[in-house]
Symmetry: C2
Subunit: 224 residues, 2 copies
């Protein structure tokens, strides 16, 4: 008889920094970043919390690595496309990544030490603009305007308390019933006439603002 016949079938895949980071990302996706603790992450990996410290320096390092993983999901601006297509595509790709991992938006704030993937991404965006003839100043302005919009939109989207159209409708209903409509008439109007219309999806607002900014940049670029 074999010395060990536990129900534990796995021969214990060894931990690694990458495995820890990916498990952290999956845990945050499933349970929210707020309930991610070293103990629970250890449990999810079949390991004690302290074992994680052999692969990440501390929890902050874990979070830094997770943010860098999210950045790696964002397409770099294409070298083949014109600047506008490249900027548009990478903005949409960035938003999609942040929809998949909503917790990442807020996390990017406190992390002041960008990882290598993040740096490469920023470098490529600026390079794309410079290559299209943007001056250094205009490239900096454009980069700031686009990223502010992308992250801000993702921030708002992540803070919405609903995901599906049904949830949206339900939230809007209870919302309308909770506050005095007379006191906030415009909010009520917008809720009824816009949010509660069939097919409403806040995510669709993204491209409106994006095109607005791209149009403005195009005009300024042409004027110089």
């Amino acid at each position: 008889m074999a010395p060990q016949t536990k129900p534990q079938a796995e021969p214990r895949i060894p931990l690694s920094r990458d495995r820890v980071l990916r498990a952290g990302l999956a845990f945050a996706d499933d349970n929210g970043i707020g309930s991610l603790s070293m103990r629970k992450l250890g449990e999810a990996l079949g390991v004690e919390a302290m074992s994680l410290y052999n692969h990440v320096a501390n929890k902050d390092d874990l979070l830094d690595g997770m943010v860098d993983l999210v950045f790696s999901e964002i397409e770099l601006p294409s070298v083949d496309s014109d600047w506008r297509t490249a900027m548009r595509d990478r903005a949409i790709s960035a938003r999609q990544a942040l929809v998949r991992h909503p917790w990442a938006v807020t996390l990017m704030q406190s992390r002041t030490s960008p990882g290598p993937v993040t740096l490469r991404h920023h470098n490529a965006v600026i390079g794309s603009l410079r290559g299209a003839g943007f001056s250094i100043d205009l490239a900096a302005h454009s980069f700031s305007a686009l990223d502010s919009y992308i992250y801000g939109f993702a921030l708002q989207e992540a803070s919405l308390p609903f995901d599906t159209p049904e949830e949206t409708a339900e939230m809007a209903e209870t919302f309308l019933s909770q506050f005095p409509v007379a006191e906030f008439p415009h909010l009520a109007e917008l809720t009824v006439e816009h949010v509660l219309q069939p097919g409403y999806d806040y995510g669709d607002e993204f491209e409106f603002g994006l095109e607005l900014i791209l149009d403005g940049l195009k005009r300024i670029r042409a004027a110089t």
Copy 2:
């Protein structure tokens, strides 16, 4: 002899929800939101942590109240000005409030229950646009685009690890010395030719993107 001759001179101003919220705001401004705990806030008020629960339901309620306080610092869009001036002024006022209280940007995300001040603010913004002839849809688009930009910019600004020009220069120097310049040439160029130029202040970028969006909205409004 009096029964008590403690050095405690104050006759114990009673707590109140407002006093607790304002103390929380001041504490977060001074020490960062991360180190705000019920115990430390109690200490700052000369009181035990549990006493706070007579005035706020729990820590989340405290944070909600603090966010609403920050919103109360933002100017409502003026009724007298044209829409563009009104939107511009309130955007600048919002950014200023978020510069004063950088922790508030991230806090707004997780809080899904907006306070009365927040609701009034949103209502006034939409009302201003509607009053200027914006359709419901265009008002919704504009509101989304502007707020995404404002919060996104504040988010980026808050995550910068420097405040003064000297700190900026210092950070940029160590930054350049830490990563291989050859690998991120565009980032390096932008750092040297833009960030390290005298008089650089990231906050100045705000108005560039803001005018870009306002210009775009003006054009769309005129075209309909």
